[in-house]
Amino acid sequence: MALQSKCPTGPIEQRWDKHRFNLKLVNPANKRKYEVIVVGSGLAGGAAAATLGELGYQVQCFCYQDSPRRAHSIAAQGGINAAKNYQNDGDSVFRLFYDTVKGGDYRARESNVYRLAQVSVNIIDQCAAQGVPFAREYGGLLDNRSFGGAQVSRTFYARGQTGQQLLLGAYSVLERQIAAGTVTMHSRHEMLELIVVDGRARGIVTRDMTNGKIETHLADAVILATGGYGNVFFLSTNAMGCNVTATWRAHKKGAYFANPCFTQIHPTCIPVKGDYQSKLTLMSESLRNDGRVWVPKNAADSGKKPGDIAEGERDYYLERRYPAFGNLVPRDVASRAAKVVCDEGRGVGPGGLGVYLDFRDSIQRLGKQKISERYGNLFEMYHHITDEDPYQVPMRIYPAVHYTMGGLWVDYNLMSNVPGLFVLGEANFSDHGANRLGASALMQGLADGYFVIPYTIGDYLANLKPTSVAKDVTKDHAEVKAAKKAVTERTKKLLEINGKRTVDSFHRELGKIMWDECGMARSEKGLKKALEKIPAMREEFWKNVRVPGSGEAMNQELEKAGRVADFLELGELMCRDALDRNESCGGHFREESATEEGEAKRDDEKYCYVAAWEHQGEGKAPTLHKESLEFEYVKLSQRSYK
């Protein structure tokens, strides 16, 4: 099947308007006849469910947490970008568009990114009206800060809890729709299968995590807003429950997985401390506004206390290598630079896997009070975890897996290649190319949920007779029953293996392979090694994992086992994609493709495309489909932040 991006043509600033006008509408009286399933209740899913409910559709919303308010969007700290130009510093829709395409190392669609920049301004209006307590200036107007990869201040924030406040805004409008009866919420439910009938997505199979009940839910369209798959690395900044299961199940039912190897390693996380470690904690990128990153000039000094290293003996390597952007270079650049100095033996802290993020100069310049106002909660979090006070000693940070730019392939309408299956937010691949800029994930999640899907889904539904009227698919349909049976049998199989190894031991082993071979630097040799190890591990998993208890009660080991089983398949596809893309771009750094200065070297001749993988069945190699990327407005060039 050829990939049809359905991007409109013509002047870029008119494309979305023109497209919206051409989309078909569903008569207001008919909307309530259509049922829509939304899986995930974060910024993208919560905003979509609430808005579709408001429009009059019958919405069923699902999340694995005990409340939709706990989706992992809540953990985003630093902020949300919008091209408001409230600071009068030269920002514009075009500049946000340009920065995002460049920041993504020219591997995203121009049309999608332009639309994202356009609706960014509506998002801030919407959230402020909902009562999101954004930071304000004394005059009562909204405050902004700057973020990596931009030379303007366009980031709106609510202390260090921007994601939390935006999510609580979306959650409040979602709860309003639940009270109004347009949205039915199913918390503690995990989607375990997509139901496809005659090539169209028609529903999902879920497991009620409190009692193990396997249920089928039918609808006219299914929206997946289930976040990213960073937990394939075991250690990441994601929440413990984040998983790939919903999108992976959809992939195995025909949806193409695009650019799976594009993962973001965030430069400022608290370093790993021990084998028992369960997750990594992010320290917001906003800290780089006031913190200076350094390591000792000489490897011999890396064991010394930071205070004992004289100013002249410190290497502020980001300021040295990238004088124009300094500590505010994009994430992929900052992470790789940290890896380089640690590989040189100049890393600090246990194992030499850390660099300093130092606030000494800012505290001297602005005072402790000001720094505390800006970052108080982050400093406190750091202190809790490390038992070190960042007001007194510099923070130690190291890169960690944070976000996945890859995801299910979608067209301009956010529909996958499976008709009726839409994918929003981090779960799709669409807007960030090979590297996401800071404060752009919240923007994309809310853009998709509030301002894109409510229009585009109507165009799909308008052509269909609602299931509630046609009654062509019921719970007794053969495909529906088969999907339910597949879930029941897989659950039973996991419980019956009764082997010797815990789920976590497999997950940890997979994570190590992925981090070593498909992490910050990738090579043909390493990726080929991983491609041998992962299938062997998967085979062992299905023979030797131990999942205790029963399927008929709350069983967290069973939940984890199902997710790890999917990660064991995804990991292989990621390595395959990374091997296939023999260029460096954004977060994907192939050792074979670097400039003399060690920067990522793209190969636009060969790789200026989206790699969309089609599943071909168990044990068979997936097929690669290419969607070539055209750039009319942004000139392709070697990215430079010097």
């Binding site: 009562g131 809890q161 009270a179 369960s278 975890i385 301002f451 009660a553």
Partner: protein, 258 residues
């Protein structure tokens, strides 16, 4: 480090629970409390026993999912921190540690240490929102909000909805949660049109869920991992009294005209 754990085990909402004792060894001081439980669970699974069910997700103190009463204190001995941010360095080697679920009638146990907190969602459904349709918002800078008010609203909005306030209260009252949610919106200019309706509806829902009344113990404030001030409870009571007075006035006026 070594510990003796007393862990609450309960099959489901209907069954009777009990404490089980476990010994755990080889714990390090920089391990988090939940990582200590992970290690216990790996051992239980390896021994063919049922692991301890507990809620957790982000493990960075923001999602509000983790919910353990540790040695009688919701979220354990460390002030202003969730259980997931609690580290073993806060305990003494060899100590006995008792771990229980949130205990409140409105939060039934699902299994072991996991409880059902959907009552909080229903309080929000009653009025914890501003009714603004997607796309209907004016320019964000069209509604100036003084920095003091915005900061104060943010102080209230920082609530993570974990329920520690309920677990800490001898009456299992949800006043701190409800007050934080009500006041966040009531403080802001955007929240004014629905202020009275929101206040009364959310308080009524809180009562209907079976949470107890507030008798000013202030245990909630002490247990709150986000240090939400109990002053908001006073402000909620003031908003509620004003709303009741105003609604009486309204009904008298409409009675006159009838």
């Amino acid at each position: 480090m070594k510990f003796k754990l007393n862990v609450w085990r309960q099959e489901n909402a209907k069954s009777a629970g009990r404490f089980e004792k476990y010994d755990i060894d080889g714990v390090t001081s920089d391990q988090s409390f939940l990582e200590m439980l992970d290690v216990l669970n790996e051992k239980l699974v390896a021994d063919g026993k049922a692991p301890v069910v507990f809620d957790h997700d982000c493990r960075e103190g923001i999602c509000g999912m983790c919910s353990l009463v540790v040695n009688g204190r919701p979220h354990g001995p460390q002030d202003h921190a969730t259980t997931c941010q609690l580290h073993m360095r806060k305990f003494t080697d060899g100590e006995e540690i008792t771990i229980e679920p949130w205990r409140a009638g409105a939060f039934p146990v699902i299994r072991d240490l996991a409880v059902d907190r959907r009552a909080f969602d229903r309080i929000i459904q009653a009025g914890g929102y501003i009714s603004v349709r997607t796309g209907a918002a004016p320019d964000a800078n069209a509604i100036p909000v003084s920095k003091e008010i915005a900061d104060r609203a943010m102080d209230a909005a920082a609530c993570i909805g974990c329920g520690a306030c309920v677990a800490a209260c001898p009456n299992a009252s949800a006043m701190l949660f409800t007050a934080a949610k009500v006041r966040h919106l009531n403080l802001l200019p955007q929240g004014q049109p629905e202020k009275d309706r929101r206040t009364t509806a959310m308080v009524e829902q809180m009562d209907a869920e079976g949470f107890g009344a507030c008798t000013n113990h202030l245990e909630c404030e002490a247990a709150c991992p986000k240090a939400i001030s109990a002053d908001f409870i006073g402000e909620l009571n003031r908003d509620l009294a004003a709303a009741i007075v105003r609604s009486r006035g309204e009904s008298e006026r409409s009675g006159d005209s009838a």
